[in-house]
Symmetry: C2
Subunit: 387 residues, 2 copies
Amino acid sequence: MHSYNLYLPTRLVFGEGAIEKLPELTKGFGKKVLIVMGGGSVKRNGILDRAKELLKDRKVFELSGVEPNPRITTIRKGVEICKKEGIEWLLPIGAGSVIDSAKAIAAGAFYEGDAWDLVLDSSKIKKALPIFVVLTNAATGSEYDAGGVISNLETDEKLPIMSPLLFPVASIMDPAYTCTVPPKHTAAGAADIFSHTIEQYIVMDGNILTDAMCEGMLKTVIECTPRVLKNPNDLDARGQLMMASSFGCCGLLSIGRSPSPWPCHGIEHEISAWHDITHGEGLAVITPHWMRWSLTEKTAPRLAQYGVRVFGLDPKAPAMENAEKAIEKTSEFFRSIGIPATLSELGVTDEHFEAMADHVISHWHPLSAAFRPIDREGILAILRASL
Amino acid sequence: MHSYNLYLPTRLVFGEGAIEKLPELTKGFGKKVLIVMGGGSVKRNGILDRAKELLKDRKVFELSGVEPNPRITTIRKGVEICKKEGIEWLLPIGAGSVIDSAKAIAAGAFYEGDAWDLVLDSSKIKKALPIFVVLTNAATGSEYDAGGVISNLETDEKLPIMSPLLFPVASIMDPAYTCTVPPKHTAAGAADIFSHTIEQYIVMDGNILTDAMCEGMLKTVIECTPRVLKNPNDLDARGQLMMASSFGCCGLLSIGRSPSPWPCHGIEHEISAWHDITHGEGLAVITPHWMRWSLTEKTAPRLAQYGVRVFGLDPKAPAMENAEKAIEKTSEFFRSIGIPATLSELGVTDEHFEAMADHVISHWHPLSAAFRPIDREGILAILRASL
């Protein structure tokens, strides 16, 4: 068993009508709140209005227009509002990008320099505004972790910001709020949950409990995603995906296991930094190619376990055969939920592959710690196979 | 999906040598600490000395002699020390009973009346001392929850104390510290983890993720307990059991599921209140009889699922057949780890069964909410079958 340090101080409040708990949860956190949101769907579907109604005794400010890959330029706007108006807490209403932005704003509000400094070096975060989340898509798990990912289009960088000070105080999770998410983003969100899990599951050493947790996460995605694509109002399946979302990125799935450098995330962040594609779609394309590249005699048994336990393959078949089938099943699943199978279909060319590989090497966790250790050539091989 | 509210603010610090983090974890929590412990094993095996060495710049007080079913008389002694000496934080070093005691003492330190009041009505807990745990057995999960169980021999009561203020700040979990636990208590602890899980797993509505978590918990106990009984120094198996311990009672396993009134715990607490038996052994005796009493055409499918996924029964066999086999496998497992199969073997007679049933009805969660609803006659039937 590997050592671990598990810390999950966020309160998860899940259920239909959970937003009604907002006044009680935020009591004592101050009068001035900044609501952070994306392109406007929360205005159209009534969630923003309900939140404002519930906060009618507070002074509410708004920052809308957070991008799907949230940009430092938007963070700077939020930080400016916080400093100018003396904002006391933040209320992101949205999915991962909106929550990630709120985290960077929360830290930036107490930092004298430019907020991008905090992305380049999160140890500079010494204080942050409290964050309460209203979640509207099952995807990144940002509602239950201490990190976010911010893009800088000037430098073509997409990098994590992370500090225990950035855990939300509470996250409100109403599965009904995800029913209006369009199929493309429902599927991309599901692919994100899948990828978070697989990055922690496919490592050299596991243990019985977290293996089972990972397999439950993957089965949730595989069973519930087709259900919600067929019937967007299937609240049970929406709820199961939303629950899974929280556990993808919080560290629970990796306790006691070999540490993973999250290779697919390292590679995908480069792609979406250069091409601004949807994160979950990029991950879905990369993942089976990373698996195929990683498949050796030594790594086959775990990929085979994945195939047997998640896809029901025959446990008596040879490990290599099951591993290969499991990879094919992974591709098939992503295709079945409508995600393009190649980077080309997402509009990505091989033009920046060399720069991407260099940037993974210089800015991501060392991929030498991956399931099969990955060097620069390995990154390029995975990118080319995904094209 | 059922609503949930998940809150787990305790930090888990797991691994060999984890105690070395004690000074860093407790920095800023004050100079005066009360170490709470049981019968003296932590003195013999060097854990107490190491803790005191690491806290040599603090003023350390000691309370030893906490009973396996911790008594309110001992809690009162601890509260007195806290009030008299101005204790600032507590360090239970031990298993569930020691941690439970520390929780009651932590709350009692800020309460003017008798600490038993706080057991009878936990809403009276308004403040509590911070608690840091050094865990020495895998069993109750008290290291990662907000509750404890306290006995009052004057009134023959054994009742829970519970408040979000009682979550430990951090729990230090070194699997090596469990290697000296005798086989009887290793097995009883494993049975406790098993029971915590089964109480939440065997309910009417589950979901894919927490079903998988519960099954992973049960498989951990079933695979790892025989390993540690055969080789007490099997650190991997000790570690897996210790990890499972934390998740048994914290609420994670029951999110989104039908709520359970924990019937076996309700009944067992009565038995150990009257007879002072080992909690985990009482649970192991009761559990299969509760299952058998609960088995109907309606409840068979979930018990069958348990049999198929945990014990590998044939998924094509009829549900009733698999349910019956699953119950038999449960009994067999407990016998195989050396736990007596009947209450008689534990020295329990039927003398107080009527009083026990009455007390469950008046003091426990309503057992009408159980998998198969249990009335007074049901409690008596389960007790008699267990004799």
